[in-house]
């Protein structure tokens, strides 16, 4: 009950607080309130994964195990893309090769996490199967979308297209290897991902159209009185002086 109250009441509340004007007291207490709401949610989220007798600690553990390769991959991607001869923001120069190596390490880590998690230097998470199937499905979808986008641009960026399609196909291949052991987890993860995508699209569609409906019907604020004849003459006179070069009377 507390969890749902915090999710449906707390999150919108702190979001609204963050969107207030910066000088208000509400804005100033927004960050500590967000921390409190998130901590409250983490503490009361005991229904997550209750079907499999696993709780929030196990979910957090599995997410933490995924953060390691994902973080390394993102760091590597930033260095590989922006680490050229000219510095971009805080990213150091000439780190493209280093970035690529980090990306390869993270892909290797994910493969190990999928196929032989016991051989990794850290202990295997309880919900490793669920986490890894969700990650692989997510990567395969993102890879496929990335390939389509790269090809749609039409500038013959073949290396980028090959990289994204390899990620997608590689993930699907890993899933097919794992299918005999964790078929149920793959099915659950796929259903969750499809459901989430549908949910996001429909919710955003409804929100977008409701906003249009509201904005269409709302009156424009009357902030100024209509221009008087005297003001109109004054503006015309100034325009004549400045544009046509007439002398001021």
């Amino acid at each position: 009950m507390t969890f749902w109250l915090l999710l449906y009441g707390g999150i919108p509340g702190v979001l609204a607080m963050h969107l207030q004007r910066k000088e208000t007291k509400t804005y100033k207490i927004a960050t500590p309130m967000t921390v409190l709401v998130l901590a409250g949610m983490a503490g009361t989220a005991n229904m997550i994964g209750s079907d499999n007798n696993v709780g929030p600690v196990e979910t957090a553990e599995a997410l933490l195990h995924l953060v390691i390769p994902t973080g390394i991959y993102l760091m590597g991607a930033c260095l590989a893309i922006f680490g050229g001869p000219s510095p971009v923001g805080p990213i150091p120069k000439n780190w493209r090769r280093g970035g690529s190596i980090l990306m390869i390490i993270s892909i290797g880590w994910i493969i190990m996490l999928s196929l032989q998690p016991g051989n990794l230097p850290i202990e295997t998470a309880v919900m490793n199967n669920v986490a890894i199937s969700s990650l692989l499905i997510g990567v395969s979808l993102v890879g496929a979308i990335g390939t389509t986008v790269v090809l749609s641009i039409g500038e013959k960026r073949w290396s980028a297209a090959i990289a994204t399609i390899s990620l997608s196909l590689g993930s699907i291949a890993l899933l097919s290897i794992l299918a005999s052991e964790i078929s149920e987890e793959i099915s659950d993860s796929l259903q969750s991902i499809i459901g989430t995508i549908f949910g996001i699209i429909i919710a955003l569609w409804v929100a977008f159209h409701t906003t249009i409906l509201i904005e269409k019907r709302s009156d424009l604020p009357k902030t100024t009185t209509p221009i008087t004849d005297e003001e109109e003459k004054l503006v015309k006179r100034h325009l004549d002086t400045n544009i046509r070069g007439d002398k001021l009377e």
Binding site: P12, A16, Q191, I194, G195, L204, T210, S218
Partner: protein
């Protein structure tokens, strides 16, 4: 490529990947009803959470005109 056709290609690529993974996960037509119900339940949960967050936060910010009333009605319809 035009915007419409590139959007369509993205949808097609998503569909192909879902079909491939569904085949790997041993999905079949006999269980399709159960799968669809599960997907709908999950999309409803996501929808409700996102809509609630969007509606309540934007209502509290745009507290003018008929916005709060209209959003509350849409929210109830959505639930």
């Amino acid at each position: 490529m035009s915007k419409n056709s590139s959007f369509l290609s993205i949808l097609v690529s998503i569909f192909i990947v879902i079909l491939a993974i569904g085949w790997i996960a041993n999905w079949n037509f006999e269980d399709i009803q159960e799968i669809m119900i599960d997907i709908l339940a999950k999309s409803l949960m996501t929808m409700t959470a996102i809509w609630l967050i969007l509606a309540t936060s934007s209502t509290s910010i745009l507290h003018r005109g008929s916005a709060p009333r209209l959003q509350t009605i849409t929210l109830l319809f959505h639930l």
